[in-house]
């Protein structure tokens, strides 16, 4: 079976769980004999050679002459409004409002020579623009690539998936790692929400990363339940031994993720404020960046806790592993977390985790401490317990490792394969 897979991130070019999940899934599918071509905005060139094929949208030649794809795009209208892309903005300094110059989004189809489009592969201020360009470029694979099925990850690639399905008639599976409601709460960006809804509607099947997310897809987007499968993410087996920790008196409490509404960083800070006076050796790390970083730093300063906090900014994968090696407990207080793959990565590194009940990963982990994201008193209690009573850490380490061994990508991708088969027959 040949799958054309569309995604925004792939290691080493990753910003969060999306790229990690795509990598695990592709490896799992290859294990089951599926042939995968993965199309991302651009390749970093650092990817290890492997049994799947990676393609950058920036490598796809868009033709000068009239083709079925160019005809298709003439019938498509794009949005062009001031839009809020807050949760995606990577940099502290980025403006929050951006005007999308949509008329320039796509090249004139009357260009005299074939063209390759430009991509950053990042979540910059021109994200929507890049999403449109990606869909345009990828649509030309309709005639050039051979595949049985299209598999698109998150809204960023749904337009491309829809175009390919319209042009080839091949089945479309869309994968949802995070909905706009997870990212933005009850005030979704209407453009992104519409793209998601359109993807769900045109897809033959929707894969959600948890039952939690499946219910959002059904309730918020009105997708028929029989069309939505929940298939949990997994974690790749550990390829390294944790580094022996230097004997520090310091106890490190870690938050890792985009510093956005969705991830609940403010609950982490409020819990820290309750804990800090009771555990003088506790040090709190906020690893990641996002549109809430400044207000979080302000709050920490206001609480006079700056000397107890470290803000690392975005960390590449190797440094995430280093951070886990130094961490005594990992806290994921997400307001809405479709899955939360980093909790599995923390466990894999032997770090006990405290996760919010509003997360997909809570469905598959029995041996994790769970808390309502808003219950900062309880969260502080749990962190205190993990830091003060080593027996808890021992207990969770032992049983969580067993649990992790069940959460393999081979298993998850076998289910994905079943999903493929259900739409192909």
């Amino acid at each position: 079976m040949k799958v054309l897979m569309l995604g925004w991130e792939f290691p080493p070019r990753i910003a969060g769980g999306l790229g990690v999940a795509c990598y695990g899934l592709v490896k799992g599918l290859v294990h089951h004999g599926v042939s995968v071509t993965f199309v991302m905005p651009l390749r970093s060139g650092q990817e290890p050679p492997n049994s799947y094929r990676l393609l950058g949208a920036n490598e796809i030649e868009t033709p000068a002459e009239e083709t079925p794809a160019t005809t298709f795009w003439k019938q498509v209208r794009f949005y062009g409004v001031e839009t809020y892309l807050g949760p995606y903005l990577e940099q502290l300094e980025r403006p929050i409002l951006t005007f999308l110059a949509v008329p320039e989004t796509l090249p004139e189809t009357t260009t005299s020579a074939p063209l390759r489009l430009f991509f950053t592969g990042k979540y910059g201020a021109d994200l929507l623009d890049e999403v449109y360009r990606y869909a345009y470029a990828v649509s030309f694979l309709a005639q050039r690539e051979e595949f049985d099925l299209i598999h698109a990850h998150d809204w960023l690639t749904y337009l491309a998936g829809i175009a390919l399905k319209r042009l080839t008639g091949k089945p479309l599976v869309v994968h949802i790692h995070a909905t706009e409601y997870d990212r933005s709460g009850e005030n979704p960006n209407p453009i992104i929400r519409d793209i998601e809804a359109q993807g769900f509607a045109e897809a033959d099947l929707v894969i959600a990363v948890s039952f939690y997310t499946r219910s959002i897809v059904i309730e918020k987007y009105g997708v028929p339940p029989e069309k939505v499968w929940a298939i949990h993410n997994a974690v790749l087996p550990k390829d390294r031994q944790p580094v022996e920790r230097p004997p520090h008196k310091r106890k490190v409490v870690t938050f890792l993720g985009r510093v956005t509404y969705q991830k609940g960083p403010e609950y982490f800070v409020e819990a820290a404020a309750r804990l800090a006076p009771k555990v003088p050796e506790a040090h709190f790390v906020v690893a990641g960046t996002g549109d809430k970083l400044r207000s979080i730093i302000h709050r920490v300063a206001e609480l006079r806790l700056g000397s107890r906090f470290s803000f690392t900014g975005f960390l590449p994968p190797a440094e995430v592993e280093r951070l886990f090696d130094l961490s005594d407990v990992y806290v994921m207080p997400s307001v809405s977390e479709p899955f939360g793959i980093s909790a599995l990565e923390a466990l894999r590194a032997g770090v006990p985790v405290i996760i919010s009940k509003q997360s997909g990963v809570a469905e598959v982990l029995r041996y994790a401490l769970k808390v309502d994201f808003w219950d900062v008193e309880r969260l502080a209690d749990l962190i205190y317990g993990v830091l003060q009573y080593p027996a808890i850490t021992q207990f969770f380490r032992k049983f969580a490792q067993e649990e992790l061994s069940q959460l393999q990508w081979e298993r998850s991708s076998a289910r994905v394969l079943q999903a493929y088969q259900s739409v192909l027959t």
Binding site: L92, I297, S307
Partner: protein
């Protein structure tokens, strides 16, 4: 006889390197060696050396009796000159040897200790005086606090330490309706004389000189001299205080700042009744005309003349309080046995670190950005707190040794 008192501030901080969470407990070198070296060498070349040469020329031509100036050189700036630009230090020593220079006392690290710890404040003033003795054989008699921070309690400490004069900002909050162009005494310490900065005339050179949007632009030597001549006849002591980097750095040589300065001095000195004097000379010639009170600290910074540029927001206050919470840990550690810890303790107190965390992006933003190594005040705060976390651990470990 009209007197103009010029005082120049020479200061450079030890800027921090990018110090990350992973460095805490691993790496105890906090300073951006390259950045600090390159900046000190650049400033030496563009400002210290050419301006020292110009001042020396003027002192020699007119004799110290008619043309003298005052400097305050922070301990950290002296350290950096020794490390990165010894020729600049020699040039200052050479200038001092002309007899036309008064060196002022300040806190060694150009810090804000006076606002938090009397003990640390006194210790640093003493340390700075020892350094001046060592490098210049100078015994300062006049004191100036970082950024001209002044308040009643400070005046009594300074008088108690044997200083006879202090510099302050000629702000209306301190003076009310009164003119800065006289000598005053401190209400809290009547023996202590106060010299007040004439900020309109000082800032004409320091900030507005090369600003093309200023109605008086371009400022010529004749015009500036005329402004002095048109001051009320009985106002006889005009104090111009500014950063020394004004000459050649804040105002580049291309703006004509050097030739302007020289021409203005020559223009003024054509009048035999005019002299450029230092604070101690001013004390000999002028009688104080009143007492000044400052129950709350004021400074020379920004339009508010208060402390909000350093201690205005929560990040700055948190950093400042966290820093001085470490002071008791230092008291058990002797400088002889722990020279590194004492060096870092001083360098981390430098006021610039707090200045970089300032979030006031109004009219004064330009000044705040100057030499600022950070993209945002948030980065400055995060970096500083990481360094402080490591420093605290080292202090704690040293207690147990």
């Amino acid at each position: 006889m009209r007197h103009i008192c010029l005082y120049f501030q020479v200061h450079q901080p030890f800027r921090l390197r990018i110090y990350r969470f992973f460095d805490i407990g691993e790496l105890h070198d906090y300073y951006h060696e390259l950045n600090n070296r390159v900046l000190m060498q650049r400033i030496a070349k563009k400002c210290y050396l050419p301006m020292n040469a110009l001042l020396k020329k003027l002192i020699t031509r007119y004799t110290p009796e008619r043309f003298s100036v005052a400097f305050s050189i922070s301990g950290t700036a002296l350290e950096q000159m020794q490390l990165y630009a010894p020729e600049a230090l020699e040039s200052f020593q050479d200038l001092y040897a002309t007899g036309g220079v008064e060196l002022l006392a300040e806190t060694y690290a150009h810090g804000l200790a006076s606002l938090k710890s009397e003990t640390e404040f006194r210790r640093q003033v003493q340390l700075h005086a020892q350094t001046l003795q060592k490098l210049f054989s100078a015994q300062p008699k006049t004191f100036r606090n970082t950024e001209l921070v002044f308040f009643d309690q400070l005046a009594s400490w300074v008088a108690d330490m044997g200083y006879t004069a202090i510099l302050a900002e000629g702000a209306s909050t301190l003076l009310g309706w009164r003119s800065p162009n006289f000598l005053y005494t401190a209400a809290a310490a009547p023996s202590l004389r106060i010299l007040l900065r004439n900020y309109p005339l000082s800032d004409d050179i320091a900030f507005r000189f090369s600003d093309p949007t200023w109605p008086e632009y371009p400022l010529t030597a004749e015009k500036f001299a005329q402004w002095f001549r048109s001051l009320p006849k009985h106002e006889l002591l005009i104090n111009l205080f500014m950063d020394y980097e004004t000459f050649g750095e804040h105002q580049w040589a291309e703006t004509g700042i050097f030739s302007f300065f020289e021409a203005w001095v020559e223009n003024m000195l054509q009048d035999k009744e005019v002299r450029y004097i230092t604070p101690q000379t001013a004390l000999a010639y002028h009688e104080p005309i009143g007492q000044l009170e400052a129950p709350k600290p004021l400074s020379w910074a920004d339009s508010e003349r208060d402390l909000t540029a350093w201690l205005g927001n929560d990040m700055q206050l948190d950093a400042f309080e966290s820093l001085y919470a470490l002071e008791p840990l230092l008291q058990n550690l002797s400088p002889e046995q722990h020279p590194d810890l004492h060096r870092d303790w001083l360098r981390l107190q430098t006021s610039d670190h707090f200045y970089y965390m300032c979030t006031k992006f109004f009219a004064d933003g330009d000044v705040h950005k100057y030499f600022n190594p950070y993209d945002s005040p948030y980065e400055a705060y995060v970096t500083y707190m990481n360094v402080l976390a490591d420093f605290r651990t080292r202090l704690q470990n040293a207690q147990n040794d």
